[in-house]
Amino acid sequence: MNTRLLWTAFVTIVVKEIRRFTRIWVQTLLPPAITMTLYFIIFGNLIGSRIGEMGGFDYMEYIVPGLIMMSVITNSYGNVVSSFFGTKFQRNIEELLVSPVPNWIILSGYVIGGAARGLGVGFIVTLLSLFFTDLQIHHLFITIAVVLLTAILFSLGGFINAVYAKTFDDIAIVPTFILTPLTYLGGVFYSIQLLPEFWQGVSQLNPILYMVNSFRYGILGVSDIDIGFAFAMIIGFILLLGGYALHLLNTGKGIRE
């Protein structure tokens, strides 16, 4: 297929993905808006006012970037894992398999579709946060780059999860037992400087810490970690997971008999 045909195929997949999550917005866009509003009210307003400062900022200001990132991560991952698993489950994956769309376009389409939901939810949550705090963006480029790359990375993760998943339970295991704990412990709610040295070291093994902190750096200008290193790491993970996901598609794992 030439470039124009590939582009059409890619756009088709992305549009289909966006149509899917907007069609079921009550399941996809509304819940994070409600949850995050509750977080803003409870942690930011009610409890936050007693906590005082964190990393030199109002507690509310401090957690807003973390909560936005948390929504982006959960929703990018969640979108691709349920959409691609559903596609396998309903067998409409066959529509793609009989067509000449190359695997890397299939993967890119799903990943960008997932990133679109992650970023869409991130945007909604950002708008909601404006009711509770003023957001001043410190480094626009870093903010956008890190949120985009993170959305792509977790979309890839969701894709791989969906390839391996055989039942609906399998698509909930990773988000519940891995993603949520890592996000909560990834500096969304606190600066790791509060932790004893040992636990600071342990926390630094958590990749999500780097994403949350880079994003917070983009917005507030403060970070617990080195931004250059964080970017290198995110891009490294994207290449790793992307290559692996493509390998799975090429071998037909969980897709072709």
Binding site: L5, A9, K16, Q90, R91, L96, S99, R256
Partner: protein, 310 residues
């Protein structure tokens, strides 16, 4: 290049060790209307699944319009439209979206895709349903939706796995007309079906597959010539006293005023009628019994079964 589909020594062993295809070879010429027949579990869907790259083959060669699926898969896929046996669209999507999206996978832009979708959905009587979610369609409509989807990139070879299963007689006939029309316009068609009259009235060439091997591969005409007897049902004006006998014919009574006669091709019907007339039996009507092809099919598959167990 005149071969639409060429299959050589194709084997498939499923993950559980089951050997579904034991080395089949098959050629379908461009422009043909070809039937792949066989009992349940014979390996028809497996064969078509491999051709449409939904199932990985274990060994053998497949090429579509000269494009080997191992080396020129993209080109092979572009020539191919697939209507699978099981519904495989997203039931929550709208009819029109399903068809237009499929076009997009072939790189067809939205404008052209929408025009073509309208053409095929109208042809298949689904245009009124274009904004319905696919799950709201009846079984027959779902099948037609899959046909529209398979044609959206105007493939040279259309593969249909039991397209008329669960479709009522009237609709089936209109589907036959439609398929005949696109075949006449140049699309090569391969279909599987359990309705032998369907194969008989549509297809020029056939293959019969059983237990993963091809037991017949010939033209429909040649196959029908293998039938050396035909069975007729005769309705009589008056009730019978006794069943007449005639050398060379096997005559049975169905009930008091209906006869069933096996007529050898060589013998013809004149002698039979003369004989009945001489007996004073008046025939009011006559018809062919059930489907001759069906009987032949059963006998072929039976023979294969005996050979296998022998």
């Amino acid at each position: 290049m005149t071969t639409a589909l060429s299959i050589q020594d194709l084997r498939k062993v499923y993950g559980n060790g089951f050997e579904a295809l034991k080395g089949i070879s098959l050629e379908v010429q461009r422009g043909d209307f070809f039937a792949l027949l066989g009992p349940n579990g014979a390996g028809k869907s497996t064969t078509l699944g491999i051709v449409s790259s939904l199932v990985n083959k274990s060994s053998g060669k497949v090429s579509v319009f000269g494009h080997d699926i191992d080396t020129r898969l993209t080109q092979a896929k572009q020539c191919l439209g697939v209507v699978p046996q099981e519904f495989n669209f997203n039931p929550f999507e709208k009819v029109l979206d399903i068809v237009v999206t499929q076009a997009g996978y072939y790189g067809i832009g939205r404008k052209q895709a929408t025009e073509r979708a309208e053409h095929y959905l109208r042809k298949l009587g689904l245009w009124e349903k274009r904004n319905e979610r696919a799950r709201m369609l009846s079984g027959g409509m779902k099948r037609r939706l899959m046909i529209a989807r398979a044609l959206i990139h105007e493939p040279k070879l259309l593969i249909l796995d039991e397209p008329t299963a669960g479709v009522d007689i009237e609709l089936r006939r209109s589907m036959w007309d439609f398929l005949t029309e696109i075949n006449a316009a140049g699309t090569t068609i391969i279909l599987t079906t359990h309705y032998l009259e369907e194969a008989e009235s549509l297809c020029r060439n056939i293959a019969i597959i059983d237990h993963g091997t091809i037991i017949q591969n010939t033209s429909m005409k040649a196959l029908l010539q293998q039938l050396d007897t035909e069975t007729f049902i005769l309705d009589l004006k008056e009730d019978l006293d006794e069943v007449p006998t005639l050398d060379g014919y096997v005559i049975r009574s169905r009930d008091a005023h209906t006869l069933e006669v096996d007529v050898p091709k060589s013998a013809g019907l004149n002698a039979l009628f003369q004989h009945l007339a001489a007996k004073g039996l008046e025939v009011t009507s006559m018809r062919n019994k059930a489907n001759r092809l069906e009987e032949l099919f059963v006998s072929l598959v039976d023979k294969n079964l005996k050979q296998e167990s022998a």
